[in-house]
């Protein structure tokens, strides 16, 4: 599993993320309003730590000079014969434990560790392989802010609708 990385919690990013989940709450974007609440300043919405992915050194996004698995001229940019398992990976489960409020302006350190792995036979997706990944988010003082547990499933075939 990759190394630790830093994740700055920036006000504009929190605003965009809140928008993307359709959350108009001013505590995520209006410093004056946020100062008048019990959290006393802008905070991030509950699933915001997911956006730390942008800072993950192994993040997957189109990069110059490298083929990308998504469509371009054809349905995938990968050369023929090269396949990506990613089309079969699905997010099965996600849990958060909140130790303290995630404040705008702090920089978190993300440490990841593997969890359990298990298999199951599914009716709609063939054989299913589940794997858990746990991310701990620490603040500057070394205090744990959020623990995120993600369960991914690789399906044997595309899931029947």
């Amino acid at each position: 599993m990759p190394d630790d990385f830093s994740f700055p919690v920036e006000s504009g990013h929190v605003m965009l993320f809140a928008r993307a989940v359709g959350d108009d709450n001013p505590v995520y974007r209006d410093p004056e309003h946020a100062a008048s609440t019990e959290v006393q300043g802008p905070i991030a919405p509950p699933t915001f730590v997911q956006a730390s992915y942008h800072w993950d050194p192994n993040a997957s996004y189109p990069r110059p000079g490298r083929p990308w698995r998504g469509s371009a001229a054809g349905p995938t940019g990968l050369p023929p014969g090269e396949t990506s398992s990613s089309g079969r990976g699905l997010h099965a489960e996600q849990r958060y434990i909140y130790h303290r409020s995630l404040k705008v302006g702090e920089t978190l350190t993300v440490r990841r560790r593997p969890g359990e792995t298990w298999q199951k036979q599914g009716r709609r997706g063939g054989s299913l392989t589940f794997s858990e990944e746990i991310s701990d988010f620490y603040n500057h003082a070394g205090e744990l802010v959020v623990t995120a547990t993600s369960v991914a499933v690789i399906t044997g075939r595309a899931v029947d609708p």
């Binding site: 700055p8 920036e10 006000s11 504009g12 990013h13 605003m15 965009l16 928008r19 359709g22 108009d24 942008h54 800072w55 996004y61 189109p62 990069r63 110059p64």
Partner: protein, 168 residues
Amino acid sequence: MADEVTFPVEAGHIMLFARAVGDENPIYHDAEYAKTTELGGIIAPPTFERVWAQWDPAYVLRPKPGQPWFGSAAGPTGLPQKGSDDEGDGGGGGRGLHAEQRYVYHRPVLAGETLTARTRPGKTWTKEGKRAGSMTFREQIIEIFDQQNEIVVTATSVSVITSRAVDQ
């Protein structure tokens, strides 16, 4: 569109923007490296300034909760279909195109600063085109100031509304 929009220039946003235009220059994401350059810190790449739109509460090209959006959802557009499809700023029916864009850079845009974009209309003109029928051009001038009210960037944008989809 709001006449005046104040927005923060954040390092993370610069990183994401540089990635989106495929620019891996470390001056846009590596603070340690940026410190060793003549600029002394992370700067924004050319064309980054247009992100002010994210802070414009009235920006037309962004879906807003509770308002119909012109992109597809269950159907090919979320707007009620009435037949007419040309209005707005690149919005209506997808007939708006970006024709031209010019920047004058008075100094680099630095990560960590706060800028204010002031927008004013420029000229408007009409032309007959071979590939798109009649075309209406509209100029918009956006001046971007820092908090000392010094100008940082002048951006001139020309949009065109075509009477039909452009022939390929």
